[in-house]
């Protein structure tokens, strides 16, 4: 018959139907096995139905669990998207802060008028360059420049012209100094120049070029009726960093040299 082969519920159903039909036939009425087969048949059919119901319920639970996990996956995805947005916005704010703090650091080290480094910048670089000179055993030359009779420029031509003169001097530095030299505004009309890897002799030659170019500057004063350009001179004092002595001592010697230059009649360079 082949009905037992598959063991599928459908096949079993068909077999039960066939047995049911045989039991119903009057020809088998007197068979002593018939009541037993009838009982077995009924029992089996009930169990088969129960099994089907169980499978249906179980499938239902599976479906619910799947729906739940789909909903959970959706929720997690939404949360992840939210967190990504939060991180993205937060990163932008952080970048803004970082840029602001960099800009503030730059500003805190810069002289706004000339665009050169300010005294704070110079103090930092002085320490760094002194340490480098010590390490590399190379000379470090420093020069202090003071504009001669700058007060007179301000008084006679006004502060605008005085400011313009200082910017003109900053341009001279840009022209004369090497990439690795360092210059900044040390005070009102005073500039400090660091010449790494430079002996006093070489430093004097550089200082002399600066002095000469400043003496050649012509600052236009358009408010003057005479239209005579303003002329400037500057004096410089130089010294070389001495190991095992504080940097301040080098600066003090350069200051003394500057004073000598002033006493010698200005518009000249002196070494200390």
């Amino acid at each position: 018959m082949g009905v037992m082969d598959g063991g599928h519920l459908e096949d079993e159903g068909a077999l039960l139907d066939e047995i049911g039909a045989l039991l119903a036939e009057p020809a088998h009425e007197g068979n002593p096995l018939r009541p037993f087969l009838q009982r077995l048949h009924d029992l089996h059919r009930r169990q088969s139905e129960r099994l089907l119901r169980l499978v249906r319920i179980s499938d239902g639970y599976h479906g619910m669990a799947r729906d739940d996990s789909d909903a959970l996956a959706d929720r997690i995805e939404r949360e992840v998207r939210r967190l990504q947005k939060l991180a993205r916005i937060s990163d932008l704010y952080q970048r803004e802060l970082r840029e602001q703090s960099e800009a503030m650091r730059d500003a805190s080290l810069k002289d706004p008028l000339t665009g050169l480094g300010n005294r704070r910048y110079l103090m930092q670089r002085l320490d760094e360059e002194a340490a480098r000179a010590l390490r590399t055993q190379r000379p470090l030359c420093i020069a202090i420049l003071d504009v001669d009779e700058f007060k007179r420029v301000n008084d006679e031509h006004g502060h605008d012209i005085g400011d313009r003169a200082l910017c003109g001097i900053a341009e001279v530095f840009d022209d004369v100094l090497r990439d690795y030299d360092i210059v900044g505004r040390w005070g009102g009309e005073e500039f400090l120049i660091l010449l790494p890897d430079t002996t006093l002799d070489s430093g004097m030659r550089i200082a002399e070029r600066i002095r000469a170019q400043i003496a050649g500057l012509r600052i236009e004063d358009d408010r003057q009726a005479s239209n005579q350009p303003v002329r400037l001179t500057a004096s410089m004092g130089l010294s070389v960093y001495e190991r095992e002595k504080p940097v301040a001592a080098t600066i003090a010697r350069a200051d003394d040299a500057l004073l000598s230059a002033k006493r010698a009649g200005r518009n000249c360079c002196r070494a200390g």
Partner: protein, 135 residues
């Protein structure tokens, strides 16, 4: 109804003055307006924003009038960003229920970064969300 009355008295109008690390927040129940201005990096952002979030929640639940947010926020730390996202989510939900809600984010034209940030916030919002440079 009792809760409503209590809340109405408590929440009708509140004004948190700005500090160095927290924005000024003004909530006006009658005008249906919440304005926030300044930097926000409080010690405890969740606590700081609780009253504002509660006020908005109550307003959206009880007042049937439109709600408008006027923002002049500049710097926000991460938990403040989170609080603002929560607020915009509440507005989005209310909008989906048919409530009239809107946001005006005003920024100093010198600070374009704020505009970019406001646009990030706006991304998932379907209610009216204007970002405008303020002279």
């Amino acid at each position: 109804m009792i809760r409503r009355n209590q809340n109405s008295i408590m929440n009708k109008h509140f004004n948190i003055p700005a500090t160095r690390s927290t924005p000024e927040i003004i909530a006006d129940w009658d005008a249906g307006l919440v304005s926030m201005a300044g930097d926000s990096y409080p010690e405890n952002s969740f606590e700081f924003f609780t009253s504002t979030i509660e006020w908005i929640k109550t307003y959206l639940a009880e007042a049937q009038r439109p709600l408008h947010l006027e923002l002049r926020l500049i710097y926000l730390n991460t938990s403040s960003v989170k609080a603002m996202m929560d607020i915009f989510d509440m507005l989005e939900e209310a909008h989906a229920r048919g409530r009239a809600v809107s946001v005006d984010w005003l920024y100093d034209p010198q600070n374009e970064r704020v505009e970019m940030l406001a646009e990030e916030f706006r991304e998932d919002c379907s209610f009216r969300f204007d970002i405008t440079a303020e002279a």
